[in-house]
């Protein structure tokens, strides 16, 4: 383990990371976002979901540095008297959870489909890739809206609130898997004709084993990059869905939900209710995207 860590600090990737101040900065911002979100129940100053602690007298408090602000609510409060900073931390938690799960889902689905299409080839490849093409012609937010709409129509309202989080994860994941499938299929086509794969075929190793143990480890590199870039997009997609009111249930507000709620008060002067969740979203997505960009360059031997 110690040797692995030592090797990492000696690697090209670490070297190119240190050399780029933008990357270091975005890594720090991303780390703050992730830690703040993950540890929200322990480090948030208030619990915005504890109804007993809410006090309507505290509603619409501006940020602490404004004239009427109090030190208790650093970023002000919303119409219910909830502390904005705590709401943002809890909201980022939901946003990250949805983003990560959706990306993981899209990765698993896309990698499996791409591997199968690329390795088996022929009619299977044709069929799977045409499905991919068709799906790529729809904007992903439209696909997500469609999935959400169908589920809403099919299941009763109480059930829907319980499974809403999974529906959003599924909707976002299903709209983004073709990117993974195409990336993996491309590299699989190259790998499957390499002689080490043929050597395994001569031995008679079953197809699925060849795909999993020979081809997969050699095609996951680019997937890592696509997944990182996709994480930002997934978080944004979730925020968009929640802003439109079809995303996560109102009992678990994400950053998108907070922005939508705040939007109602924007013109009456309570700007902080929508601006701060918005800024948090920007910081999170931008830092993740910049990290993804850097990773793509760092892992591309042609750009070294």
């Amino acid at each position: 383990m110690a040797a692995a860590i030592a090797r990492f600090f000696d690697s090209d990737v670490w070297w190119s990371f240190k050399r780029s101040p933008v990357t270091v900065a975005s890594a720090i911002v991303a780390a703050i976002c992730i830690i703040g979100a993950a540890l929200a129940p322990f480090i948030a100053p208030h619990n915005p979901f504890d109804l007993a602690s809410l006090n309507l007298i505290d509603a619409f408090k501006p940020p602490s540095w404004a004239e009427e602000g109090t030190a208790e609510y650093l970023l002000g409060t919303d119409d219910q008297g909830r502390d904005m900073l705590s709401a943002i931390m809890y909201g980022a938690r939901v946003s990250l959870l949805v983003g990560l799960s959706a990306t993981l889902f899209a990765t698993l689905l896309g990698v499996s489909v791409g591997l199968l299409a690329g390795y088996v080839g022929g009619a299977v490849d044709g069929l799977l890739m045409r499905i991919c093409d068709v799906q790529l012609t729809f904007p992903s937010i439209l696909v997500a809206l469609l999935v959400d709409g169908v589920v809403r129509a099919v299941v009763p309202r109480e059930v829907h609130d319980q499974i809403a989080l999974f529906v959003v994860i599924f909707a976002i994941g299903i709209s983004e898997w073709p990117k993974f499938a195409r990336t993996v299929r491309g590299s699989t086509l190259v790998e499957r004709n390499k002689e080490y794969v043929q050597a395994a075929r001569v031995i008679g190793v079953p197809k699925l084993r060849i795909m999993a143990s020979h081809v997969l480890p050699n095609v996951v590199g680019p997937v890592l990059v696509v997944a990182t870039l996709n994480l930002g997009l997934a978080i944004l997609a979730e925020a968009t869905l929640s802003f439109l009111g079809v995303g996560v249930p109102p009992t678990q507000p994400s950053l998108g939900t907070l922005i939508r709620i705040g939007n109602d008060f924007l013109f009456s002067g309570e700007w902080w209710i929508t601006i701060f969740p918005g800024l948090a979203l920007v910081a999170m997505v931008l830092s993740v995207n910049l990290l993804g960009d850097w990773l793509r360059d760092a892992l591309n031997p042609k750009l070294r």
Partner: protein, 343 residues
């Protein structure tokens, strides 16, 4: 030496590839289907413990024969027979599949870059369940590494830590790990330095003597082939032009194409001597010439060669597919210098 039943045999083996453009494009352009006849009816047999080599220019179908021989391709026509069984039938049985292995051309592509050497070599052992315990497997890997001239300590390394020649040794160790009896070697030395080529060839010969292996050896290099073969088949455009014992082939090459190939072998003693090159290019195997495929480049070609495809017929202790040889017209073409020296 030669057994009654050969270890490996192919009969009228053919493999055609459909290289047509997609259906719609073909319909629009009113094109015919385009069939590439990579291998077009060849027959040979390899007795146990001997080496048969196939030589020929790039694109003559020799690698396709190699792939057909281990079942990586299925034949379009004809039969591949492994130790008395049809290949497809033999490959369905693990204990038969274990007996055949392949060594590949490119030592940089034939080892999975993400696997350790121990795992690479042990893959056939695990696939066939040859040893059960982990320690027995490690011992076997160490033994194999020693056998191919590497250190048992190399098993913890990754392929990129080795040179081309060492990688080819690892490839050989992997092929040997299932105790095979028949090895298909697809240009195993063509990606290596000349000095390393000799080492690998010597290793392969030594292993053959020690383990009684049967080789099907594919190469484009006649000098390499001369070192290892008992018999040599010369391929041209998917067919055998000549099939002869190695010494016969080098002493009295009969087919005009074989003679032309011999003429092209570089030789220090022949520096400065006049060479007669083979004119022209290899024709496309999609639209092969009529009659004998070699006739556009052959100095002995006549009308019959343009019309009628020659079959492989005995000539001395060789088999030659040439009308000129059959009719005794082949004296018109001089023996290549290398054969004159040998004789």
């Amino acid at each position: 030496m030669a057994d009654a039943t050969p270890m490996f045999e192919v009969r009228d083996l053919a493999r055609h590839f459909d290289v047509s453009r997609p259906f719609l494009q073909r319909l629009v352009a009113r094109e015919e289907k385009r069939i590439l006849r990579a291998v077009d009816g060849i027959s040979f047999a390899i007795p146990k413990g001997t080496t048969l080599s196939l030589v020929g220019e790039s694109g003559c179908g020799k690698s396709t024969v190699a792939r057909l021989s281990v079942g990586l391709y299925t034949p379009t026509a004809g039969a591949v027979i492994f130790d008395g069984r049809d290949l497809a039938e033999a490959r369905a049985l693990a204990d038969q599949r274990r007996r055949m292995q392949m060594i590949f051309q490119d030592p940089y592509a034939s080892l999975n870059p993400r696997w350790r050497v121990a795992d690479i070599i042990a893959e056939p052992i695990r696939a066939f369940g040859l040893v059960t315990s982990h320690s027995a497997q490690q011992d076997r890997v160490a033994e194999l590494l020693t056998q191919v001239g590497l250190s048992p300590l190399d098993r913890q390394k990754f392929p990129h830590e080795f040179s081309g020649g060492q990688r080819q040794r690892i490839s050989i160790a992997r092929a040997l790990s299932s105790n095979p009896e028949f090895l298909v070697c697809d240009e195993p030395t063509s990606a290596l330095d000349v000095s390393v080529q000799a080492q690998i060839l010597n290793l392969m010969k030594e292993l053959q003597q020690r383990l009684g292996l049967t080789y099907l050896f594919i190469s484009h290099n006649l000098a390499v082939v001369r070192q290892v073969s008992d018999r040599i088949g010369v391929m041209y455009l998917g067919r055998l032009a000549e099939l002869a014992p190695a010494e016969t082939l080098f002493r009295t090459p009969r087919h005009p194409y074989t003679r032309a190939l011999m003429e092209a072998i570089p030789d220090l003693e022949m520096t400065g001597r006049e060479r007669i090159p083979v004119g022209g290019e290899v024709p496309s195997p999609i639209t092969p010439p009529s009659g004998c495929a070699f006739h556009p480049r052959c100095p002995l070609a006549n009308d019959r060669c343009k019309r009628e495809r020659p079959e492989l017929k005995p000539a001395g202790d060789a088999m030659v597919a040439c009308h000129a040889v059959e009719e005794g017209r082949d004296d018109a073409m001089p023996m290549p210098a290398i054969a004159r020296d040998a004789a």
